[in-house]
Subunit: 197 residues, 4 copies
DNA sequence: GATGAATGAGTTTTCATTCAT
DNA sequence: TATGAATGAAAACTCATTCAT
């Protein structure tokens, strides 16, 4: 309310947009909550109910389920993407940076119920989601991998795509099983990359 | 029960039992074929159709889908289980034996369309399946792991259950993606186990 | 019940088939009734409710709406198809035969609420229906048209397909409008075919 | 409206009316374009988007879809209505005039994607549309029909309403089927009207 | 007046599972 | 025992229409 010096149509326009934005945030919150409770494949109707809106509203804001998931997790994906170069600059060695970065990625996947599973599903409806993840994170991972390979620390015959897919798979089902610690296994995987001196 | 040479109705009974067994084998063959074609979550109706029987017959022999999957793959699971001690005896080192055994396990999972995915699903209907796999294979894997740990080749802080679950996860979706080679990643994982000399 | 001398599995099999057939007839009757009341595009659920069965049952018997419509009207289509040659043999002139046959076709279309409309819809779901009608009736109509053309009674530049489509169109909406008599207009159309002596 | 640099309310009112008219024309153009592309049953949202206005604006100007269709095609309907007497005056015979007029009507219907179909729909929402067409064109057609009947050229037992409805029906689906030429069939219909000398 | 967000009924379709014959 | 017909819950998705801003 610092500035509400608008009048005429301006107010209407601004206020409409404000409301819609608020509503969208409500939707994202509700979706996030439902995703935690029932996984990212929860029925649209459940999310709508949780948000207290009609189903059509969900479809208006997020035409596909992938769009919704992306919106819900965008911040975290961005943070992960931006952390790549930063770690490379600050960590001791490229391999260490890679390990830390993968750790962030695991953090992300493991805490999102069912997201890892959906990342490997070949369901056509998730194409957008797949594309978003790959577009955003594969280049970052490639950079880290290249640096570590260039420094001679690791083998150079693994694509970022394959590594990320593997890490993603290792994270499937991790939340629900106390006897399974995805992070540990991912560490082994990264350790296994190291060039046998 | 070596001898159940019954007479009178007995002959009928024996023959009926024979028939039932024949029928069951038909079912298993059909299910295996459909699993290859459409994955282990194929509609029951398809399997029944392939076998030329009614759906009720499937349910009679295999009350749950898990029972059917177990029956279909039992032979291969048994073979895998039995290979453990054999490899330990014949391979150069325990770690090599472990690697070869895991390889067999990967062979198995990767060729069964969708089986790996179902192994990690937390769908209650698959409990029996999970239990069967774990009961049968975890002890074998434990033995290999213990031997390798005892020889000092690998770290000793990983449970067989966790390793197998990780390997299973790495195999998810491997058949359908040419850019993803599950076996490679599993090798990295096993390599990562090695104790840093 | 003239003959129920079946025993053993025979009875079960026969009785099952009998029941299914009875049920299918129930379905057809219900569908016919609903078609009359609400047109051939009535919701599947309505038909199921009318028949007192689940929706799945409709889908089992008739995978697409077109299949159901075909089944409901098959008898009448067949009768119409068979009447063609008969009329040609018994009527005074080929043109007269054509007129009478078209009349039968109109009888059929006009009494089926909404069927005519669906026959011209380009909805892909009705492809089977279109194909059935065309396959069955166009040849008959062609025969009548050819005979009348050969006798010099009518112009010879009109395809059976086009004529039938036109007749079909003229029948659209005829049931519900007392001021519109499709039959009269069809007569004009047929009269218009006559070669100007 | 040369000058709309208004201030003071009076001028504002005039200008508002001008704006509204301009807006309405934009709407009509957009609707016409969308009707051509997707038929007259296109979603309201599409039309609004095309016009660059909100959906509410469409509803304000044209409370029902029929109102919109009428507005879009009013000019052409008027032209058609006015052509009737003109043709009667200029053509050789009343029957020729009738044929030419019907031709104009067909021109109109055939080029409007889906309009013919909507003209026969018994959907209550189109009542206004039906009424408008009938009110405007039936009298014209009646005049032509009466003249031709009076001259002895044609039978006198057909109502204009019924004829126009028939012509409308014949035009259904004509744009999308190369094997179906509505104009030809309409010609047959008109030819069929001729009194058998 | 204009906007466009929200609503939610309505329809289709699929399959696991049961159970009468 | 075997059969397969019947069931009906579930879920996605679309759009006409309303109404707060």
């Amino acid at each position: 309310m610092v500035n509400d010096s608008d009048k005429g149509t301006g107010r209407a326009a601004r206020s409409k947009r404000t409301d819609a934005r608020r509503n969208e945030q409500t939707l994202l919150d509700a979706a996030a909550a439902v995703f935690v409770a029932s996984g990212v494949e929860a029925p649209v109707r459940d999310i709508a109910a949780r948000a207290g809106v009609g189903m059509g509203t969900i479809y208006r804001h997020f035409p596909t389920r992938a769009d919704l998931i992306i919106a819900v997790y965008r911040h975290q994906v961005e943070a992960c993407a931006e952390a790549g170069p930063a770690l490379l600059a600050s960590s001791g060695t490229p391999h260490a940076a890679l390990g830390q970065w993968i750790n962030l990625f695991v953090d992300f996947l493991v805490t999102k119920h069912g997201l890892a599973a959906v990342l490997q599903s070949d369901n056509a409806g998730f194409d957008t989601l797949h594309a978003y993840f790959l577009d955003r994170l594969v280049p970052v991972c490639t950079q880290l991998l290249d640096a570590a390979a260039a420094s001679g620390e690791i083998r150079s015959d693994l694509e970022a795509y394959e590594l990320m897919r593997g890490v993603g798979n290792l994270c499937i089902g991790a939340e629900s099983d106390p006897r399974y610690d995805a992070r540990r296994l991912v560490e082994l995987l990264i350790a296994g990359l190291r060039r046998p001196n």
